[in-house]
């Protein structure tokens, strides 16, 4: 069940009305749990039992970790609680990738033994709910959390339908305390929730789906396109993935908010990040937080010397890339970002290059840093989007060895873009204008819209709704992160 379909909104209204009719919060929780499992089944996943099994296993292991008397026992239960979700994730997501890789390696060395593929169907949202289960057992082991009293609450934490299939990845400590009270659908939450949902739908259906159409054409066969087209398609894909994923996150957060649940933000203006480190604090924030807390820091973080810090950083990002998908392009994308973070840490963090530069500390310098950072990030999107490593090579070749093929329209577009960049430099050089620009770009419009008085809020719904009806392409494609 896609968030963009009428079925989802009928489902949501039915659940909301049912919640209102129930008096006890236990029944309300059970109703949302049932609705979440129904949502999962309706989304096309036949792996309901798998979701239930991961939930049960991690709940049981969490309880065992907490009740174990010795450190050894705690470690054993942690290992079991960690391995079960990871083995399931590994089997369903990576076994085909592994077989393909082995087959390729064997054929490279001249051994023509082809292991048949298992044709495993990837369960929807497996990367997300296994990570939430992992965070629960880890937090109990680290003493940050006590096991939840009531299995249904834990099951709801894992399967809560707004964030079940594509996040945000919520911590148990953030979600479970919100289950202590009866669910009341207040006017304020309803207004905030609907404001977020509409904005999310607009980003997904109007922006992402329209620009994605053109990016898909180019990436389907990059060899047949010019350098400029590849660059344009990369930029369009960067816009697509941001609007697609942050649109999903807004719909998820908005839906949860209607029920009175507050989910963490997943994006905070990532394309205004002035370095790669900041980018990862603004992009898919709940995943970055997970990788940092449960991978980078347990590996030693920056506590074990320079070399280990770099290794940990790089390894964390490679795993982050692999989490996104079972393909070498994602591994390469993760490694690329790992390298960027590593270089940033070395040159900016340790060698302090540019630390005394007056230009870089100025407003035009800020714009310059944003431009450079985003150029690097968008190059990464090309790796992420390419269908194969061969396509990555083709695209890189075309970008690096620019073919200079222009049409009148593309020439105008390039001149226009350069003009805008220069204009931005001019604006940022004039202090009052720069301050206004910063305020304009960082203003919390959604918060503003969700506080509007009734006529203005109705106008907000009407304008965004009409734009969605009018400008969205028919047959909305799935969210990109559904595939992860």
């Amino acid at each position: 069940m896609l968030f963009t379909t009428p079925e989802y909104f009928i489902f949501l209204i039915v659940v909301l009305i049912s919640i209102e009719l129930l008096c006890k919060y236990l029944w309300q929780h059970l109703l949302i749990l049932g609705a979440s499992y129904y949502f999962y089944w309706y989304s096309g996943s036949i792996h309901l039992l798998l979701l239930a099994f991961v939930t049960l296993a991690s709940y049981f292991c969490g309880a065992k970790i907490f009740s174990s008397e010795t450190t050894k026992q705690r470690k054993i239960w942690l290992a079991i609680g960690t391995l079960i979700p990871l083995i399931i994730l590994g089997y369903f997501k990576y076994v085909e990738f592994g077989i393909n890789t082995i087959n390729s390696l064997l054929s490279t060395v001249g051994v023509n033994v082809s292991t048949p593929l298992l044709e495993v169907l990837l369960p929807v949202g497996i990367s997300f709910f296994t990570f939430q289960a992992l965070s629960y057992t880890f937090d109990i082991y680290l003493g940050k959390l006590e096991p939840v009293n009531g299995f249904h609450k834990y099951a709801l934490f894992i399967a809560f339908f707004p964030q079940l299939v594509a996040g945000p990845i919520v911590r148990a400590s953030e979600f479970l305390p919100q289950l202590h009270n009866k669910i009341t659908i207040t006017g304020e939450n309803l207004q905030i929730g609907v404001t977020l949902i509409l904005w999310g739908l607009f980003k997904k259906m109007v922006i992402a789906d329209n620009v994605g159409y053109y990016a898909n054409i180019v990436f389907a066969n990059p060899a047949n396109h010019t350098s400029l087209t590849i660059i344009a398609a990369t930029v369009l894909f960067g816009i697509q993935i941001y609007c697609d994923f942050s649109g999903y996150a807004h719909i998820a957060i908005g839906t949860a908010r209607i029920f009175g649940f507050i989910l963490p933000e997943n994006f905070n203006l990532p394309y205004l990040a002035q370095n790669v480190q900041v980018f990862w604090r603004k992009w898919h924030m709940t995943l970055s937080r997970f990788i940092s807390d449960y991978l980078y820091i347990p590996l030693g973080g920056n506590r074990k010397g320079h070399f280990r810090t770099y290794v940990n950083l790089f390894a964390s990002m490679v795993i982050c890339g692999l989490w996104h998908g079972a393909a070498w392009t994602f591994v390469l994308w993760g490694a690329y970002h790992g390298l960027l973070l590593l270089l940033h840490r070395f040159f900016i963090g340790e060698k302090k290059i540019g630390a005394n530069s007056k230009f870089l500390a100025s407003n035009p310098g800020l714009w310059f840093k944003i431009l450079i950072t985003q150029a690097l990030v968008f190059f990464g999107w090309m790796i992420f989007r390419a269908n194969s490593l061969e396509d990555v090579i083709i695209c890189t070749h075309k970008i690096v060895f620019f073919d200079g093929a222009f049409t009148t329209v593309t020439k105008m577009a390039v001149i226009g873009s350069l003009g805008l960049i220069i204009l931005a430099f001019v604006v940022m050089s004039i202090k009052p204008l720069a301050e206004v620009t910063k305020k304009v770009f960082t203003f919390n419009y959604l918060n503003f819209c969700s506080q509007l008085n009734l006529p203005c809020w109705i106008a907000y719904i009407a304008i965004l709704g009409a734009a969605i009806f009018l400008l969205s392409p028919p047959g909305t494609p799935e969210f990109i992160y559904f595939a992860f």
Binding site: G187, Q191, N221, A223, N453, L464, A466, L470
Partner: protein, 382 residues
Amino acid sequence: MLYRYKPLYSKKRYILQTICINISRVLKNGPKNRIFVVIGIIVGVLLAVGLFYGGMYLLDPVLDDYLHNKPITRLYDFYDLKVGENETAVYFIGDSAVGSAVYIPQIMAELEANGYPNIAAYNLYRASDDPVRRLSQIENIIESQPSLVIYGIRSWNLKGDTSWVDEDVILVNDRLLLDSDAEHIYTDEQLEDIYSDYNPFYMKIFLKGAILALFSGSTEDVSPTTHLTENAWDAWTTPEKRDKYDSLYAGKIQENVEITDTYANITDRNIYSLSPFSAEKTQKQLAFEFMLERLKEEGIPVILVVMPQHPILSELTSDESRRNFHNYLNSTGLVWYDMEQMYGDEHFSDLAHTTWNGTIDFAPIMANIIIQEVESGAIHYT
């Protein structure tokens, strides 16, 4: 929370005051009460729907101009003319290979030079055409009474099931004369597409094209037969561009630059469906046979032409596959001509489409086929 005003006067005045004060608070401070929020949502959605319909109404003239000139609309406009009632009409049907290779003015000139000035030929190609998509038009074709149908075909036109992407069929669904016996060839989903309603929520898919066409000035009205008497070339290029196009592609193929990529594409991605042709009945074959049968029943002669293709594609086609394809064509009992390997790579702009020179060279061959049919008495010439 709803504001409850203390009654000072009558009960009616109390209710009125309460409503007024609550409305003014909602308008001023925002709808904190959920009833007002729900009312706001309903009103907002209704307004959005109204704006959408209003937008579509305003854009209707632009959309109409654009849709009127869509190839499928023009094809049906042409069928409605029933040109076969008054002249000896030869229809070329098929996909873009027919579109690029069949140049009607040249064929007509060849016919005239050979003493047949009263034969009118029409190029009724459609890009990405296959028999399943064409099947929905066959009754309209029959009603327009052609004297001869020349069907340009390639083996992949008959392999597998159709990749149904016919979003345009809705534009003519009120003019479709689909034979009920043909319905079983379609899937339920395809039939739903064919019979779907013409509504604004569907029509918005054409908005983007309509607006682009408006700005490029390509929505001017033209008669239904204008493009059909010419070919794909005339729709998008000028004679000067044709020459440039030819030299560009001929050069690239000779230098083996583009073709290497293309070769990789067809082998890796199988875009031209290089799987062997088998005798097992596919959806496309069923549709093809149904069309031929209907034309035969109505006494309309049909000739099949295996369209020219690039030597690389021919190399990739196995002898067995080719033999199966030819056996299949023989099984139709129709006259067919094999032109698959008649050209070298200099005649192709890509793997399946001829260059301008290839198109010009193809015209006398087609004219000769028509003349043979006339001289054999298969078609009536006035």
